[in-house]
């Protein structure tokens, strides 16, 4: 069995990721305080996407997981984006 092959994420790396995540949080707040119309929500969602990516990669260790698992997780998000797109196309052309 290869129990010892697991990658151990160092404390320092985790602390740096936390700082990045907090920075992104304040970035979102300062950006959404300006009214850039439709861009605001896009930028807020993009930053949230970056934060989500950091959590998935480092906190949830996906960066060091098998390719299969990474593809599976990616497909779930892709599936969700497709569902959202299809729903919006449907609503726009009613």
């Amino acid at each position: 069995m290869d129990h010892n092959k697991t990658h151990i994420t160092e404390y320092k790396v985790l602390a740096k990721i936390l700082l990045l995540l907090i920075f992104c949080t304040f970035l979102t707040i300062s950006i959404t305080s300006f009214n850039l119309a439709a861009f605001t929500v896009t930028i807020a969602l993009l930053i949230a996407g970056v934060k989500g990516f950091l959590v998935l990669s480092y906190f949830m260790h996906l960066k060091y997981e098998s390719l299969l698992l990474r593809i599976l997780v990616g497909s779930i998000f892709l599936l969700f984006i497709i569902i959202v797109l299809i729903t919006f196309i449907d609503y726009s052309f009613r």
Partner: protein
Amino acid sequence: MSEKGIHIEEHRDDEASKLGMWLFIFTELLLFGGLFLVYSIYRWQYPVNFHEASLELSVTIGVINTIVLLFSSMTIAMALTAIQKNNKKLALRLIAVTLLMALIFLINKYFEWGHKFEHGLYPGSDLMALLERGHLLYFSLYFFMTGLHALHIIVGMILLIIAYFKVKKDSVNSDRFVFLENGALYWHLVDLIWIFLFPLMYLIT
């Protein structure tokens, strides 16, 4: 190992346990995904109402809760690192800190919701029935999504409390830590959902 020296193979597959946890996480993501879909359609249909209604929320409490959750996510990831490095004492402390953060989050949520309840704003209240349609939709989604999220916090806390005692009893140790790993994955999921909930509920322009 028996006295006669017969080796008994332990039935165990950590990779499969983890994959199982991920499959469960996928169902959770799609559950919240469905709610986000409903949210985005109604926000698109009632942009002004959603903005007005979101002003009722306190961004400060939202920010505090975001940082509390992000911090707890780091501490539980560190707890896993600690157990992998065979540092049981530190792992126990880090799980305890995570649980404390979870409690702070729930207390904040209690005051946040309590404040709205005092003003007669809760699902099924007389005031809610009188609101404009967009406002009604926003608050219904707000209570349902943050409520479901808070429920996940409680479930995550239960899992982490079990993990705490498993670490204490050494049934989770540097060689077998998949229970803590899966518990931590669940906790990160809760954090991940909040990352999207926060800007969408609190910061609408």
